[in-house]
Symmetry: C2
Subunit: 687 residues, 2 copies
Amino acid sequence: MAPQTLSRLLSRPRVAVLVALALPLAGQAAEGMWTLDNLPRDALQAQYGFSPDQAWIDHAMQSSVRLAGGCSGSFVSPDGLVLTNAHCVVGCVQGLSSPQRDLQNAGFVADARGEELQCPAEELNVLRAITDVSARVAAAAEGKQGQAYVDARNAEKARIESECVGDAADTTRCDVVELYNGGQQHLYRYHRYSDVRLVFSPEYAVGFFGGDPDNFNFPRYNLDAALLRAYENGEPATVEHHFTLKPEGAQAGELVMVTGHPGRTQRQLTVAQLETVRDVSLINTLLWLAERRAMLGEYGRLDEEAARQAQSDLTFTDNSYKVYRGQLQALLDPQVFAAKRAEEARLREGVDAAPWREVEAAQATARQIAVPYMLLEQGRGFDSRLFSIARTLVRGADERTKPNDARLPEFQDAGQGRLRQTLLSTAPVYPAFETAKLTWSLTKLRELLGTDDPLVKSVLGNRSPAQVAKALVEGSTLADVAERERLWTGGAAAVAASDDPFIRLARAVDAPARAVRQRQESEVGAIESRAATQIAKVRFDKLGTTVYPDATFTLRLSYGDIAGWEENGRAITPFTTMAGVFARNTGAAPYALPQRWLDAQARIAGDTRFNFVSTNDIIGGNSGSPVIDRDARVVGLAFDGNIHSLGGSFWYDPTRNRTVSVHSGAIVEALKSVYGADTLVDELLRK
Amino acid sequence: MAPQTLSRLLSRPRVAVLVALALPLAGQAAEGMWTLDNLPRDALQAQYGFSPDQAWIDHAMQSSVRLAGGCSGSFVSPDGLVLTNAHCVVGCVQGLSSPQRDLQNAGFVADARGEELQCPAEELNVLRAITDVSARVAAAAEGKQGQAYVDARNAEKARIESECVGDAADTTRCDVVELYNGGQQHLYRYHRYSDVRLVFSPEYAVGFFGGDPDNFNFPRYNLDAALLRAYENGEPATVEHHFTLKPEGAQAGELVMVTGHPGRTQRQLTVAQLETVRDVSLINTLLWLAERRAMLGEYGRLDEEAARQAQSDLTFTDNSYKVYRGQLQALLDPQVFAAKRAEEARLREGVDAAPWREVEAAQATARQIAVPYMLLEQGRGFDSRLFSIARTLVRGADERTKPNDARLPEFQDAGQGRLRQTLLSTAPVYPAFETAKLTWSLTKLRELLGTDDPLVKSVLGNRSPAQVAKALVEGSTLADVAERERLWTGGAAAVAASDDPFIRLARAVDAPARAVRQRQESEVGAIESRAATQIAKVRFDKLGTTVYPDATFTLRLSYGDIAGWEENGRAITPFTTMAGVFARNTGAAPYALPQRWLDAQARIAGDTRFNFVSTNDIIGGNSGSPVIDRDARVVGLAFDGNIHSLGGSFWYDPTRNRTVSVHSGAIVEALKSVYGADTLVDELLRK
């Protein structure tokens, strides 16, 4: 699957403001994640003879969907049907499952609309308009520095977003997006759907066939596809724009485009920032993930129910591990780093070096606070859903007493719908699993901060991590949604009166966590952001405006064509077939097809194309993006990159970086021949 | 504990020949691990007014003991009593324990000699003589390259060792040691004790008080002390030389010396080699260890018995993790690397750069084969005792049909005693634990080599790692010592006839493992070794012979004095007291003193010094070394370094690198007041 956990783990809130202006290497066909208001028309015309008009662009924009949790999707019927990846609906499926009803492993198909199941916490966004608000944000921060600079920008952005949302918070979402990191601020206005229902999700065993070993590899055989439906007022939403499916797909060499929401790239970091990423962030994160995956894996060996509880955490941890391992590998490649150095040297030639020097100086602080930031502010020292609920309640109570524009961004009005939805999700909480994760992460907290650290002492006292975790989970009532609602609605007074152990823990952690966040923002983020603005100007001066901004989890189009690549002298062809998955089936997980597939084998046309690769430039967050042809018909569903795409965080390699997609024909064939979902097939193929 | 697992995990056999000539930074007091035939007499005299005579040196040499498994120790009575660390006898204690008799957590004191328990597999070595055989080894390899060079040297060394051992293999061990990596070969002749019995070992909770969080930290409160006894012909061995204990210890600022067996340092690697260590070896190893520690930790949460089974593996894994994390941190320090570059530049000035270039060119292969080498030849892909037994049987059968000088070094006559002892150890094998480790490591094997790798396919077939692991462990009879003995004695024919699943697995792995080892040796090791010889000559020319060789798990003396250091502006004083451990006791592991200690508190003189730090330059393998004063009296027992000592693999930092030791007085006080071991105390204090 594509690394959308990138954004899940690192970018909310970000460790550092890491986005800067793009400096594409010369002549790299297909490179770029382009905003829809600045498509590379010349390149598209020159390479593919394609010139999309405004109607085409509007149609593509309003047919594309963002899953607020970190994925992409698209409308594929006028009745609000959304095509996305199976791995993008794991949160919904897991939340709807219980020990008695395991939708994740059994799969789910709604035979009729009335059987579609509401996801406990899902939000869809559809982009309606982009407005340039750069001048307004710049004016607000004019002449300011450090924390004042951060605060002024945040406040102005909050005001802009509030004005945009107006009193339509239920159906409107507005985000000020920093493009070209400080080069431009654009206001993105979305239509927001908060009633989202599960229509179809395949068995985990075929949605993620090959599991972690095959993840980011190709040839590949995954039905990583799922269907959701947007509802409004209790009825399927009627949407003005949707893509239609083309089951014949596209041919090798044909132009294909991906419209989706890449989460984050770091292609324009300075060398000093890249060194911090390589030597600090990635190593700390990888070591943490390595332990976490083994902890979850071993927990899952207890019994089938434990395995079910741990499944989605484990899948995401394995996935993130592979993503970051690939990123580290790319940054450890001396050639990649040499190219980055050369690129920076060219940019710095003949201009004031101060911005680069300031960024470099800020790295000492970035390195120093990396571990406490990860443990306290990112919350990795308290790895449990109950802690994250408690933090939302404690901080939320605190922040909501402030005026909107003075709050931490994640508590501002623009995001409150989603925040509340996540907080009040009915997805079950599993006490033993919470205890295991918390025990482990409290051990890491003590290990990394030291036994004699004041916070560690106050959290553990005279007890072991296991004792503390057990007491917290057993003593808490936050697993109860009604109690969470009471505390959220009751606000500061209710939270202050609570002596729930998790609330007490979140209160104890809050001050040191906010302190390290403030150091990060004022001593690192503000400096990097200001410097990036100046570096952006240098880039514009030297390269003009025909560049794309680093990814920001906003709508982008990437173009390319269906093509394999060469691996150690061996040609990898771009298509696999459905017969191939039966050939690869061993009967043992993760290579065990579900019984329903084995039973259906005779009915499936074996030569139906299953997965394919193309040269589109995508990254985590793009999972679930439609792959469309020049007629805006869906020919595939992006769900992964190949192993070489992982370096795509830092640079695009046209010879080997590939997007991996489910073929449109395989989606139709599976729905028809395996799942007997004829009504859905009709809806998908209706013109 | 000191990082003796360094040698356990990496140096048998080595991934690369990484030892070269020493180039001490100027004026670093106390730096150096000196061979006993080349002590830094001038520095000792100048700094401490101490000039040891030959009798002193002989006495120190023959009173010092090597634990062949990777530790140090010393004779402390004429009746063969050996003082070492508790963490050095973990293998023995774990091997003697069972679900019914948990010596590791309960501790053990033999009330009388008849109650001393024979360790299942322990070997002690006492150095008797050092002979320079450089000329003979050089002559044998004259003019040879690649594999021929490796083979010729190995064969000549095997001949020298065989001649030295003669027909006294039971009591003699001879090793040709490469000092100054090719600069000199010295023959080390040891007296060998293979009947070793456990006399005293404290409860794990006090031997490793503070556990992983306090490991490599100071202030510290560990009774990391144990007593073994060497036996010969069924009776306690009578030894000619032993140290006597000085319970008063030594004072701050006083000269103290450590005589022990540091395992491996890498202070003289070229910059290209250090980059491989930093970017490949350490990262691969750390990620592996990170997962392994979490896997073991979670396994141990199953129940008390599972925790007991996993305890020593977990302790060693945590320890190694911390060691390598510290090493990586040191190599990621831009100042350390800049110093290494500057050092190399000075050395290369005005001389032929070919050796450095050849080493650099060989790194491409080193990097390429690092993962298969780790999985197949180091056996990490098959993490289980039964696999390691099967490999010894399969390879042993094969190698022992060859003449001694044509065998892989570890199967040559010199090491067969220890090899057989380890193979036939009666330490119990725990099927569920074996299955868990094997399941996990087979998953790593598949992850790192890929599902479609031919060996992975042949090992897993159509089964999952869990299924394969279960079938292997359930189907094997190798847990039975008699069966192992039958196969070892039966040799090639017996092993060929066996269809034990582990024997079949070891056979399947053997050819690819040997292939990657041969590439390592001929395409990396041989080149590095020849180049190092040339670089060594440059060093000798520029610096003379007043340098020490990198550590080689052979006897070294390091000198220094008792001194604290400054940490973030705070002075760390060099001593702790026994009262301190009661103050730090929380009652929750790893800060829970055993009941026996709580009961004894009133009897213990609280101001007895417990642990102390000194400036001695030590490294993993030094664990258990005596700390002696100028009168060769034991004032302490080295068991750890502080956190800054971990960079000691690459350089010595006189301002912060510290050895951590148990004070001699605390050993006596604990034996007397906690354990009531008056007879042992009398033996220790007898003049």
